[in-house]
């Protein structure tokens, strides 16, 4: 039996729009119903992705990473992720693509299908709430994600 779909939202709740990932996770948790939650979806939130997250990814039906995007399309971009090794390491945190590359090395197989939901963010000021633009983008992203999760396995919408 496969493990539930995993949704990982990451960012700092105290850094303005960097809170988009954790805020999205909180919203998904609130909206979970017996159909969408309880056994079919598992949620995780953290400040940043770390190397041991690879052990959370194993045998999932799919994985969705949710992060604030400081550039790119608004209100959000959504698409499949491929494993990619980062050249050199200067930070304690990891990107989702790099995490998938470590997964492949660790388990000897590709990670389950993985997707990145990048919600366009604008303001990362310490102590600031979500900006109005980010709040709007969050709602748009969740409106896309919820039916997508319900229908996973069909065509993946991409707004990149």
């Amino acid at each position: 039996m496969r493990a539930p779909t995993l949704i990982i939202g990451y960012g700092n709740p105290s850094r303005g729009d960097d809170a988009l990932g954790p805020t999205a996770i909180a919203a998904i948790e609130r909206r979970m119903t017996p159909d969408t939650g309880s056994g079919q979806i598992e949620i995780v939130t953290d400040f940043q992705l770390q190397i041991e997250f690879v052990t959370d990814l194993a045998e999932r039906q799919c994985i969705v990473f949710i992060d604030a995007a400081s550039s790119g399309a608004a209100p959000f971009s959504f698409g499949a992720l491929a494993a990619q090794t980062e050249a050199g390491t200067t930070t304690h945190a990891m990107s989702p693509a790099s995490l998938l590359a470590v997964y492949r090395s660790f388990y000897g197989v590709d990670a389950p299908p993985s997707f990145l939901l990048g919600i366009r963010a604008y303001d990362f000021e310490l102590g600031a709430p979500l900006s109005p633009g980010a709040q709007h983008n969050l709602e748009a992203a969740l409106a896309m994600l919820e039916p997508w999760l319900m229908a996973y396995g069909q065509e993946v919408p991409c707004h990149a």
Binding site: F47, I51, T85, G88, T91, F106
Partner: protein, 486 residues
């Protein structure tokens, strides 16, 4: 004298190389190197060009929110900030003596933090440099390269991290933003089932700790000319020392040795840290420079972290780590000052954390239910502990309405500011003088910085990621060459 490279004369005639960490939310750190027309290094600085005041974010909040809020300083050591803040607020709520259960739960949490942080640093951040070489192919110099070439080491690193995180989850109640430590104690102990879960793997964790020490020790044995000298400079060492001079990450009094290893200060009450150190401001960086007040800023700077702790303590209160400490001390004639020895001492500490966890898990107090202490409320408290990167100081004043009126944080990376600057000046002089700058050579600078395991999130009181862009700019300001990584 490497310190002479702090400020060059006639900078307008020099070429500038910058290693420039840029990111969307992290405090902005940068290394700049000025070269003359013969590629001779004239000036080297590690500086912080952006600062966001986390202390102001804390001021005005109710004190009981602080242990949770300060975790948002750092994605790597939130537990250290949680515990340091809680220790300071213990004083304010009059809980100078915690219950045995509370102190042991906090210690378990702290050892878990030390274990996971040290494992991350060696296996994820540093092993690519150490195992492949500082100027090896950049495409290989990362954790995926390690996993392919050294799969056992990569696996060990990931599972050590996971075990440490599991301790944090169990002791703090949550995987992240935990609320385990609160002013006066903890809000939960652990259950018998949770203890059994952690006991299941701890023997293997201790063995992996031993493997980790051996891995780094062997690097010194194989190439002492490099490992015992790279970026070396002399300075004093500061850390907490526990009872009878034991290595103690959680509590103790402040101890300082000089560069010869002689005691300068010992038994300094952490509530009086301000009598021991001050911070100097320099115009070219936002990161301050702490120094010993009685000696002055020019000669009174020091280093913190594993290399200081292991040489500052009189013994380690766990047998395997103590044996490794004695071997480390015997390795050099006098105190070891080489930055790469941070790795060796860091792994001795990882082993000690594993042994301490194993011992604590047998302690019946861990599953007790006496969680909180209290006493006479006061208005000011200081919390000091040894975070993975070094001495961490939290200092608060709270008014009669329970609101924080003053917050001062001195983090490990700030203590090491001058030391890191000296390390990169030493490396620049050793490796960069007279040579064409390449990515591999610039990585030598980063290797020296990484040895300290700095956290710019903590140092700048911001959080985020830290990509690097290195630019070579000529005397007219034209971009000659650029290297980047993300």
């Amino acid at each position: 004298m490497t310190s002479s490279l702090e400020t060059a004369a006639h900078t307008d005639k020099l070429r500038r190389v910058a290693i420039d960490p840029v990111s969307r939310v992290e405090g902005h750190g940068k290394v700049t190197i000025l070269l003359d027309e013969n590629n001779q290094v004239q000036q080297v600085r590690l500086h912080i060009v952006e600062f966001r005041g986390f202390e102001k974010f804390i001021e005005g909040r109710p004190y009981w929110e602080v242990p949770v809020m300060v975790q948002r300083l750092c994605g790597i050591c939130p537990v250290s900030h949680n515990l340091a803040a809680s220790k300071a607020l213990d004083i304010i709520v009059g809980a100078r003596q915690l219950t045995p259960t509370a102190e042991k739960i906090r210690r378990l949490m702290h050892y878990g933090q030390m274990l996971q942080s040290h494992a991350l640093h060696l296996y994820y951040l540093s092993s690519p440099d150490l195992l492949f070489g500082f100027d090896s192919a950049i495409a290989q110099r990362n954790i995926v390269g390690i996993a392919q070439r050294y799969p056992d080491a990569a696996r060990r690193g990931i599972l050590l991290r996971k075990y440490g995180q599991e301790i944090i989850r169990i002791t703090s109640g949550k995987r992240v933003h935990g609320t385990g430590a609160v002013p006066g104690g903890v809000n939960k102990s652990i259950s018998l089932e949770e203890r059994a879960l952690l006991q299941k793997d701890i023997d293997e964790i201790v063995l992996w700790g031993l493997d980790s020490v051996r891995m780094v020790k062997d690097l010194h044995r194989q190439n002492p000319a490099l490992y015992d000298n790279f970026g070396s400079f002399r300075c004093g060492m500061m850390s907490l020392a526990g009872k009878d001079g034991a290595l103690d990450f959680y509590d103790g009094t402040l101890r300082v040795r000089d560069d010869q290893g002689a005691l300068l200060f010992d038994g300094i009450d952490d509530q009086h840290y301000e009598s021991l150190i001050q911070e100097e401001v320099k115009p070219w960086t936002y990161m301050k420079f702490p120094y010993l007040t009685s000696i002055g800023s020019e000669h009174g700077w020091y280093r913190v972290g594993p290399l200081s702790r292991i040489q500052n303590c009189d013994f380690i209160p766990s047998p395997l780590a103590e044996q490794e400490r004695q071997e480390f001390i015997a390795w050099s004639d006098g105190p070891m000052h080489a930055p790469l020895a941070y790795h060796w001492t860091r792994m001795i500490e990882l082993l000690h954390a594993a042994e301490a966890i194993r011992a604590l898990l047998d302690d019946p107090d861990l599953v007790g239910d006496d969680l909180l202490a209290k006493g006479m409320r006061v208005h000011e408290g200081v919390g000091v502990l040894e975070a993975p990167r070094g001495t961490l100081i939290h200092h608060y004043r709270v008014d009669d309405n329970d609101l924080v009126t003053m917050c001062n944080l001195i983090v490990s990376t700030t203590h090491n500011n001058q030391a890191m600057n000296h390390a990169i000046r030493s490396v620049a002089r050793q490796y960069l003088n007279g040579r064409e700058i390449t990515e591999g050579l610039l990585n030598h600078i980063e290797v020296a910085i990484r040895a300290f395991d700095p956290c710019l999130s903590c140092a700048t009181h911001a959080l985020g990621k830290m990509a690097l862009v290195a630019e070579l700019v000529d005397a007219e300001g034209r971009l000659v060459h650029s290297l980047s990584r993300h």
